[in-house]
């Protein structure tokens, strides 16, 4: 009979702790929730990873690319700068892209050409440059509201989330405004919808396959669904995430012909 009062007590304590936790989270400002979710997606130190992109149209695989990505946050802006190397397909192997804010360079080792690109020049089909490289959303967007609601995650489970409404706050932002669902209690990004200025849905992204990576649970897959044509789906799967040095030297045009990571 003693177990019942103990269980009740435990339940009470758990409820109290949960309430306190919720109260603490509720006290978080929308921008803090956004920043916390950035920290779940991106380590706060230089790192390397492999991003495998597969594109599907009407249920059929139509394209695939594999990219090795090396990222480092800029000490001034806080935004990530990335060096991307094509691993596959064979026709693109060893081509490089340097992303440093709006400073974009494409390097082809065959022609030795370093070509400056505008942010509108996409090289990876549906996935925008901002989707592929590491982005700290809190640096480019201002979260306005955080409303609690239940939503389905990428594994079709119901998750209790903050629905963050955020607007672009810098010229570097790729999208005009974004709605993002972030799980209450652990700040896991669950899904996001990206819009144009006129309110047209450009794409929906689901963050899923959470796995322990560099110390915490992080999403290892993003599923991007086209806003106009939901049968157009791009899956980005991340592997080989490692903490590594990304010297400043690498992140400039003149280093591109020299880049050869081990």
């Amino acid at each position: 009979m003693k177990t019942i009062p103990l269980s009740l007590c435990s339940l009470f304590l758990c409820s109290l702790l949960a309430s306190l936790s919720n109260a603490a989270n509720a006290a978080q400002k929308p921008q803090e929730i956004l920043a916390a979710s950035d920290a779940v997606r991106n380590p706060d130190y230089p790192f390397g990873l492999t991003n495998t992109l597969v594109e599907y149209r009407s249920g059929k695989q139509t394209d695939t690319s594999t990219l090795a990505i090396y990222s480092k946050a800029d000490s001034n802006s806080g935004q990530f700068r990335s060096l991307i190397r094509y691993v596959a397909p064979a026709r693109d192997a060893n081509k490089l892209i340097l992303y440093s804010g709006k400073d974009l360079w494409f390097y082809d080792p065959s022609s030795k050409a370093s070509i400056r690109m505008s942010p509108q020049q996409r090289l990876l089909g549906q996935a925008s440059n901002g989707d592929v490289v590491t982005v700290n959303l809190a640096k480019d967007y201002q979260a306005i509201t955080a409303l609690e609601e239940d939503t389905q995650d990428g594994d079709r489970q119901i998750k209790h989330c903050y629905k963050l409404a955020m607007n672009a706050s810098t010229p570097d932002a790729t999208y005009h405004h974004i709605d993002m669902w972030i799980e209450v209690g652990n700040n896991h990004p669950v899904k996001a919808r990206f819009y144009t200025e006129s309110g047209k849905l450009l794409k929906t992204a689901y963050y899923r396959r959470y796995e322990k990576q560099l110390g915490i649970d992080r999403p290892t897959e993003t599923v991007i669904i086209d806003g106009l044509d939901p049968s157009w789906v791009t899956v980005m799967r991340y592997s080989d995430l490692v903490k590594r040095d990304v010297p400043e030297l690498w992140l400039q045009r003149d280093y591109l012909p020299r880049f050869k990571p081990e």
Binding site: D103, I158, Q252, R258, K260
Partner: protein, 430 residues
Amino acid sequence: MMRPHRTPLLILCMAAVGLLPLQSKAQDDPDISALLVANQMPDVVEKASNWRIFSEAAAGGGVLRSNASTQQSQRLSFDVQYDGTLAQGWRAILSDRLDINWPAQISGQNSINTVKEAYLIWQMQNDILLDAGRINVRNGVATGYNPTDFFRNGALRSIVSADPSSLKENRQGSVMLRAQKLWDGGSVTALFSPKLAEQANNASFSLDIGATNSQNRWLVALSQKMAEGWAPQFLLFKSEQLPTQIGMNLTTLVNDATVAYVEWSGGRSPSLLAQAYQQQGLYFPDTSAFRNRTSVGLTYTTENKISVTTELEYNGGALDQNKWDALQRGPLAIYGQYRNYLQTVQEAPTARAIFVYASWQDALLNHLDLSAMSRFDAVDSSRMSWLEARFHFSHAEFALQWQRNSGNRLSDYGVATKMQSWQLMARYFF
């Protein structure tokens, strides 16, 4: 580890027992289908390779200007590229291409092997690198005409396409020693390319050192980031035959869809016509003067992945309207000598040109890339037009190219032996 995904049946069951709110389900229906599609993704991660190897077969034809007859042509090519680390701090680069043509190209050989690059890199420190061997040094930010591409002289051994990127890729480097020091936001490069042979060698498997290393040359290039998005490059180039030339490259982002660039080089030099004479050991009055060479352009990209580059080109060493007209009216041998020389040094015969290049990624069909190019000689109004449709799979590519040369008989493009030509190509990456 891949997380197991539930089936649509399970979702329906969950919905039926009220686990999924109806409103949410209705809203997310397209998402559910998409997520189920995403579950098909194979759990395979490709690994990087030090090699890139492909072979290419091409067949085509052209209408000859001389008698309007059609000439068929075929080509088989093999291209190998290696970039590997030999030991800590040591890296080797090798790039070679073999083109087998029927009929033979202008050199008279069916087979033309081009050793594009073969060199060693020693990374002395993180920020200091030394290179030695045959290196394809290609400076310049412009697309159609690169006034600072000082090492293109004698670099073309086999021409397989008029596409500027093909001309830049399928060429041989110069033998040189090169050193580079990098720092955050800039670098300085110094190189020396010695004279190693006198004459070009058209033999099929010749290293053809004489084509690229027939004189001593040196170059110093300095890049420095001045402000966010502004990193100009300045160059000094000296060859045995010409006074020191200076150069500059600069790009800027006009807006999210537009990149602007300017590439310039200048210095005292004789006219290209005088250089053509001098190369043959013939007398030509001194025409030395400070001459500018410039490419200014814009690349605009639309939301549906169409990029259009428009470039204005000026070469102060080439001929203006009057001199070009006079040359065309003069002896054909001298005209031919001038054009042959320009082919070697990859310069245009006249001073002004307009270049337009458009490419459309995933045009109309997924994996179909369309490209179009026009080179317009603004002095004699002749024109070269080029179109390409390229369809690619993961390991294979198919391309159809068409080219038309129009203009008066001895004009810049009107003199081409083929009025129009086409070729169908299939490429396979191993």
